[in-house]
């Protein structure tokens, strides 16, 4: 019972919770490899190794790989190898355990850097050093310390700012299908997002992107990177799969430090979470775990939650962490485990739809399936503009009605529609072309966005605008001469 470490103190940011002796004392090389299977490596004679420890694997040729301890069972330790086990044999390997879970150095030195999925430089610069060392898995934030998110993050994209406002400290995912411009949209958000009066920083974590996509992202975000407002963590599609398990953990670890120690508003973009979940599934399958749905492990919800829940605002601190995960829904199926579990954790979703893209609208957001749950606290008087929530509600309600009118018109012909229904069809065209459609590098002010919404709503008879109070109609509704 009398342990030398004594009662552990609350780790304060900037201090290292693990004593130095623990970190460097256990650098013994273990050579007794019992089994190699998929991404897993089983090491014998590993008594004294702790669960979830980080390990370095030295190969015969001098190459080093890395691993995490998934299980300790008597003298056996099971590791997941981040870089794949290709070329490994049972002899000639040495495993050195770190004595603690994986830590990264955090600090403002990260800003402007381009690194791989493990945080090693890709930009030709020296390894990133920092002012503090923190565990990448982070610690759960005490919910009592959370400040309810309230101020908007403006992206300059009308459909998002106007109808599903992103809020500081929120987690709002983009659901897409392969072939749609979700990466373009995510990159546009990363390039344009700002919060009023605060310094804004972006961490862009790419998992399993193609080299063409990566080149696009680097190019598009070059300006922000040069301003030292951006960190890029890039795991390419042909990079080690298991490395993807670390990327979305390193990103929020850096972000939390920038937010709560350096007082920045930080946006973390994670793309593509489906690739991440597949990596988790691969490890689970190799461990022969009982799968839940579609082969994904039963703990996928909790696993995703430990990533997404790292967003937020904290009482007594100025900064914030906002997370925008991007994921592709296989076959466009929103009930697939990855979008489904994500939707249960996140505060809303932005859904992209192929039929809207086919009509030439960018960004192709299906606004009726999309939602920002925190918009009610982040938009309106004192946050954006007094009429904002009511306008958004009216635009959506009218669009739902317009959709019915369009369907009716397909059945009976537009000529047979009532005057009111025809005005809805006109409204739909106006709102889609005037408000939703936007250039890929265009950043609109909120005034501009709301003005466009009012212009579209003006196509409807006044009696249809039931969600807008009279005072707003008088103040904002454009009156044409006719």
């Amino acid at each position: 019972m009398k342990d030398s470490t004594g009662p552990a103190k609350e780790p304060i940011e900037g201090t290292d919770p693990a004593p130095l002796s623990d970190r460097f004392g256990a650098q013994i090389s273990h050579g007794d490899i019992r089994e190699v299977r998929g991404p897993l490596l089983v090491v014998g004679g590993a008594g004294g190794v702790g669960w979830d420890e980080f390990a370095t694997i030295d190969l015969a040729g001098g190459e080093s790989r890395h691993g995490l301890v998934l299980e300790v069972d008597r003298d056996l330790a099971t590791l997941q190898v981040l870089e794949s086990t290709d070329g490994m044999s049972l002899g000639g390997i040495g495993v050195r355990f770190d004595g603690r879970p994986l830590h990264v150095q955090v600090g403002t030195q990260w800003l402007g850097r381009v690194c791989n999925g493990r945080g090693e430089p890709l930009d030709g610069g020296p390894p990133v050093t920092g002012t503090a060392t923190l565990p990448v898995s982070g610690w759960p934030l005490n919910p009592v310390y959370r400040e309810p998110p309230q101020e908007p993050v403006l992206t300059g994209i009308s459909v998002i700012d106007g109808l599903m406002t992103l809020v500081r400290g929120q987690k709002l995912p983009i659901f897409s299908v392969p072939g749609l411009p979700h990466l373009t949209l995510a990159t546009q958000i990363a390039a344009q997002a700002t919060s009023s009066g605060q310094s804004f920083r972006v961490v862009f974590a790419a998992m399993g992107l193609t080299h063409a996509d990566i080149a696009f992202v680097r190019d598009r975000l070059e300006e922000r990177s040069a301003e030292k407002e951006l960190i890029l963590l890039l795991n390419a599609a042909d990079d080690p799969v298991i490395e993807r398990i670390l990327t979305p953990r390193i990103a929020p670890t850096i972000a939390e430090h920038l937010a709560y120690t350096e007082s920045h508003d930080v946006l973390v973009v994670m793309s593509d979470m489906t690739s991440y979940a597949e990596a988790v599934r691969e490890v689970s399958a190799a461990r022969r775990e009982i799968p839940a749905r579609r082969g994904y492990p039963g703990y996928l919800y909790s696993d995703l939650a430990t990533l997404y829940e790292r967003c937020g605002r904290v009482k007594g601190h100025d900064g914030s962490v906002t997370i925008v995960p991007v994921l592709t829904m296989p076959a466009g199926d929103i009930t697939h485990p990855v979008p489904d579990l994500t939707g249960y954790i996140t505060e809303g979703q932005i859904v992209l739809a192929p039929d809207i893209a086919a009509r030439g609208i960018y960004p192709p957001v299906d606004v009726l399936s999309s939602l920002s749950r925190l918009m009610r606290s982040g938009a309106g008087k004192g946050r954006t503009r007094e009429d904002h929530p009511d306008v958004a509600a009216q635009v959506l309600a009218a669009l739902a009605r317009a959709r019915q009118a369009t369907e009716l018109a397909e059945l009976v012909g537009e000529a047979a529609l009532s005057e009111t229904d025809r005005s809805y069809i006109l409204y739909r065209t106006l709102v889609e072309k005037g408000l939703f459609d936007q250039a890929r590098d265009e950043s609109r002010t909120l005034e501009d966005t709301l003005g466009r919404a009012w212009t579209a709503l003006a196509a409807l008879p006044d009696k249809e605008l039931t969600m807008l109070p009279r005072v707003f109609l008088d103040r904002y509704l454009p009156r044409s001469g006719s």
């Binding site: 470490t5 552990a8 702790g50 998934l70 759960p140």
Partner: protein
């Protein structure tokens, strides 16, 4: 939590996430709590074989090694309950979060007894007379708290005899003795095991409604006090929003809100919202009648499993003082996932969708702790349970959803189509049920609302009829329907948008009294009847539909939460306008 017996300590031999196997322990019992490693992580015994045992750990086990010590505590998982719970936030193991640090590291598990809680002084006011005979459930004295809920200190279960001493009025701390009954010293707070239901005398069968202030629930799918309800809903169907409304406006004495594996920001929102709102009945802040148990999705998974039972034990603790308590658990699916996670790691054979075979009995053991009872002290009190279910992919045939429905009296099924058309609360009238509706109708009949059952019947019939006609209209066209059927379609729309929809963010509409609800229903019925008369008189349906029904639809938001008189006045205005139609 010091070890009680030497020689019982064992050592860790296997760690796989929250599953820990230990060896070399003796006389261990099931559910006994152990502490593991130098950080003394709490873990519960779930299987014993010889001197080996399997434990589920309640903290992140990173760094736990083979050979680390496993120390027995001799006690089951329990929590200290006494004054000071109301208005506070606890984690799944009932450790105070309000006084915990910003980052929840395992280091916290070393301080199971919170010094802040232990040091706080309360004013004890004795009510029992020394020398008299007392038995379990009798009130020994009271402790005033910040709100109007008076904390009653009871004789613990299993204790009876002559009250030989009771503390005089004065300051005491939670572990201080306040009475001696026979040989038993009663302290202000007691340690309560969370997995065992607290005893009571008898269950009541008569149904008394719980008023939630939400029209679709109170008028159509009511819940009796002491009954259980389940709320299945896919993501985005407004589940949490609706449960928060119920937490705010239910006419219960105490609310226990269990955030089980849900969002951190939501818990912050609940805390913030309840702190700002006032309880209309007592004038207190709503937070002063609420206990929040927050085990968010990123907090350790196994404490999530315990949080549901912690919540219901707190509820029973207040029930035993004679209060009506509502437990809201959001979400039971996350709890079931924690069960599944552990069962899988333990190598148990899975039943449906990987869930363990005991899922339904575990669910039953939770929902069956609801009840309206006579307490040991002879008072009438209740625990009402409302459990949210988050079906994966919105699939209502998955095991947690289907199993839960078997153990509840009311089902409030949330519908994605309603939610997507921004109809909140999105309670489906086709998929939901209320098994006590008839009995609750009798209660209303005897308590001032004889029309309740008739209104409910007409509401259900009108909704069903208008749904059927809407389907028909899609095939043959709306204008091909006879006039009186088109009026029913209109009536369905007025009922949905003017009564069942409720704006949670509105001061007028967020809460609705029974009387205003009845008036709103009557308003719609009156309008439908008037339109039917117009059709009979030969007025064209098209011109009826062109009439402005805005005053009907806006009545719920324009008039105060209990202003039924204005709604009834509105009815007269609308009817007069309709009568003028030709």
């Amino acid at each position: 939590m010091e070890p009680v017996a030497e020689g019982k300590d064992g050592q860790v031999v296997r760690v796989s996430g929250p599953l820990v196997e230990i060896e070399g322990v003796e006389r261990l019992s099931m559910l006994e709590l152990m502490t593991l490693g130098p950080q003394r992580i709490a873990a519960e015994t779930v299987a014993i074989a010889g001197t080996k045992a399997t434990l589920q750990a309640y903290e992140y086990t990173g760094g736990l090694k083979v050979g680390d010590v496993a120390a027995a505590t001799g006690a089951e998982l329990s929590s200290l309950m006494g004054p000071g719970l109301l208005g506070q936030v606890f984690d799944g193991l009932m450790r105070p979060l309000s006084s915990a640090p910003m980052w929840l590291t395992p280091a916290r598990s070393q301080s199971t007894a919170d010094p802040v809680v232990l040091a706080r002084e309360w004013t004890f006011v004795p009510t029992a007379v020394p020398g008299t005979n007392v038995s379990a459930g009798d009130v020994l004295g009271t402790v005033p708290e910040s709100g109007s809920v008076v904390h009653r200190v009871l004789v613990p279960a299993g204790v009876y005899g002559v009250l030989s001493w009771v503390a005089p009025e004065g300051k005491v701390r939670v572990l201080d003795p306040i009475a001696v009954v026979a040989d038993h010293v009663v302290s202000l707070a007691e340690r309560v095991p969370i997995r065992r239901a607290r005893p009571f005398l008898a269950r009541h069968t008569a149904a008394v409604p719980l008023h939630t202030g939400q029209r679709v629930l109170d008028l159509v799918f009511p819940l009796a006090r002491g009954a259980a309800a389940t709320v299945p809903g896919g993501f985005g169907t407004g589940k949490t929003m609706m449960l928060q409304q119920v937490a705010k406006w239910s006419d219960a004495d105490v609310i226990v809100y269990v955030g089980c594996g849900e969002r951190g920001n939501e818990m912050a929102d609940v805390l913030d919202g309840l702190s700002q709102l006032e309880d209309a009945r007592t004038g207190d802040r709503l937070i002063d009648r609420t206990v929040i148990i927050a085990n968010t999705s990123n907090m350790p998974m196994m404490a999530r499993e315990a949080s549901i039972f912690t919540g219901i034990t707190v509820a029973e603790y207040y029930r035993d003082m004679g209060y009506d308590v509502v437990v809201i658990a959001d979400s039971t699916s996350r709890w079931a996932e924690a069960l599944r996670e552990f069962a899988n790691r333990n190598g148990d054979l899975p039943a449906e969708e990987g869930y363990p075979a005991n899922l339904s009995s575990e669910l039953a053991s939770f929902y069956e702790r609801a009840g309206r009872v006579t307490t040991l002290g002879g008072q009438s009190a209740s625990v009402t349970v409302i459990g949210a279910v988050s079906p994966p992919g919105g699939d209502m045939s998955e095991p947690v959803t289907t199993d839960s429905q078997r153990f509840v009296r009311s089902l409030w099924m949330l519908d994605r189509d309603l939610a997507y058309s921004r109809h909140y609360p999105a309670v489906s009238w086709t998929g939901s049920f209320a098994r006590d509706a008839e009995e609750l109708g009798n209660w209303h009949a005897a308590n001032g609302q004889p029309g309740w059952a008739i209104r409910r019947a007409r509401t259900v019939a009108l909704l069903a009829e208008s749904d059927r006609l809407a389907e028909l209209a899609e095939i043959i066209g709306r204008s091909s329907l006879p006039g009186h059927e088109q009026v029913l379609l209109l009536g369905g729309r007025l009922l949905r948008d003017g009564v069942l929809m409720q704006n949670a963010l509105s001061n007028n509409d967020g809460y609705c009294s029974l009387e205003k609800g009845a008036a709103l229903l009557d308003l719609v019925f009156d309008v439908v009847d008037a339109c039917q008369r117009l059709v009979e008189r030969g007025v064209a349906v098209a011109s009826i539909e062109e009439a402005d029904f805005g005053p009907v639809l806006r009545a719920r938001e324009e008039f105060g939460p209990s202003d039924d008189a204005s709604v009834r006045a509105r009815s007269a205005e609308v009817l007069a306008a309709l009568e003028a139609l030709q």
